[in-house]
């Protein structure tokens, strides 16, 4: 596989770092919401928010990188509908990776708990404390997250299908496995 069939090392590193953080903070979010109030719950909420802000910043960098670097082309024989689907799915993934942390940030403000990144850097409260708005944003945060979970499942399934079922060196595009062409 030539270099052109592989994302840049920066893109690959950002992809996996963001993936790791999402795979940590998504189950954390699911787990923490139903806990009875305790110091541990408060800690977990803070960690969840810190990771969310980190994802937001990394995704901002990723978007900047993505807009200034051409990704490796898909193999020529990938069907046109799959190309379109892939392009839409990737657009939606980026959209959700921005919308989810933003919805969490706004929800925190609406619920009256400012987000302070790593307990050091306070994010401004863009909305006033408001119970109804807080509940609405909590629902939005949840719906967006389940949408992301569905989309990530599709994303992973598609990559695995191209790689293992169609036997293309697909995972190498994102730095998995050997670099050279099979």
């Amino acid at each position: 596989m030539t270099a052109a069939n592989r994302y840049s090392t920066t893109a690959i590193a950002l992809h996996w770092l963001v993936a790791l953080l999402i795979f940590a903070t998504f189950p954390l979010g699911l787990y923490m919401v139903d806990l009875p109030l305790s110091p541990d719950k408060l800690k977990l909420y803070s960690y969840h928010k810190w990771i969310g802000v980190s994802v937001f910043l990394l995704v901002a960098i990723r978007l900047g990188w993505r807009l200034t670097h051409t990704p490796p082309p898909l193999p020529n024989d990938i069907a046109a509908w799959q190309r379109r689907a892939s392009s839409v799915a990737h657009g939606l993934l980026y959209l959700l990776m921005v919308a989810i942390p933003v919805s969490g940030w706004l929800m925190s403000s609406a619920k009256g708990f400012q987000t302070v990144w790593f307990g050091v850097l306070p994010l401004p409260d863009l909305v006033e404390k408001n119970r109804e708005l807080g509940d609405l944003l909590a629902t939005a945060h949840q719906v967006l997250n389940y949408s992301l979970a569905a989309l990530v499942t599709l994303h992973v399934a598609a990559a695995l299908k191209h790689h293992f079922v169609e036997r293309r060196p697909f995972l190498q595009r994102m730095g998995l496995g050997r670099k050279e062409r099979t």
């Binding site: 109030l37 110091p39 408060l42 800690k43 909420y45 619920k111 009256g112 708990f113 302070v116 050091v120």
Partner: protein, 184 residues
């Protein structure tokens, strides 16, 4: 000469004419709020119901007295979850100690409409002496008394057991109050 005497008398009389003893508290314009840090994040709260009794003549602060009784069930601790939690044994133990009371013992004038209010705060069966700076703002209809102090929650056993960890919920609670009152 008569005019001079009249002016002199007016000047001498004026403080007396302004001397008011504040005895009627206006609950709707009065507030008791607090702020504390939770995981390093400031959280605001307050109490909606409290009764204040006071007698205060700015010209005779040494004769002043004040008592405040706070209904702990009227708390806004930042969230519904925290409101409910605060009633429990580890926090206020509200079924046993439903109220917080402050009773003044001494008021001293500090000058420039500032006073020092000394007294005892009783919370969850524990009493501690407090020394609260209060500023007095005369108003046309009602005058206001603003005070603030730092309460250390662990002095009163507020947040025991797992909640005693001050890295999660800070020990220091900034309490702010404004009492609006009229008098005659």
């Amino acid at each position: 000469m008569k005019l001079a005497a009249f002016i002199l008398m007016s000047v001498l009389a004026s403080p007396a004419a302004h001397a008011v003893e504040y005895t009627t508290v206006l609950p709707k314009q009065s507030r008791v709020d607090f702020e504390f840090r939770q995981m390093g994040v400031p959280v605001k709260g307050g109490f909606k119901r409290f009764t204040t009794q006071m007698a205060f003549d700015p010209a005779k602060p040494e004769a002043a007295r004040a008592t405040i009784e706070i209904d702990l069930a009227s708390i806004d601790a930042g969230s519904r979850e925290a409101d409910d939690e605060s009633a429990g044994k580890l926090w206020f133990n509200r079924s046993l100690y439903p109220k917080a009371t402050f009773v003044s013992s001494e008021v001293r004038a500090l000058g420039a409409n500032r006073f020092e209010l000394r007294g005892t705060l009783t919370l969850k069966g524990k009493s501690r002496d407090l020394n609260i700076p209060v500023s007095y703002t005369p108003g046309k209809n009602a005058s206001t008394f603003d005070g603030s102090f730092v309460l250390k929650r662990l002095d009163f056993g507020i947040g025991e057991g797992m909640w005693a960890d001050v890295a999660t919920v800070a020990n220091e609670v900034q309490v702010k109050f404004r009492i609006a009152a009229t008098g005659k």
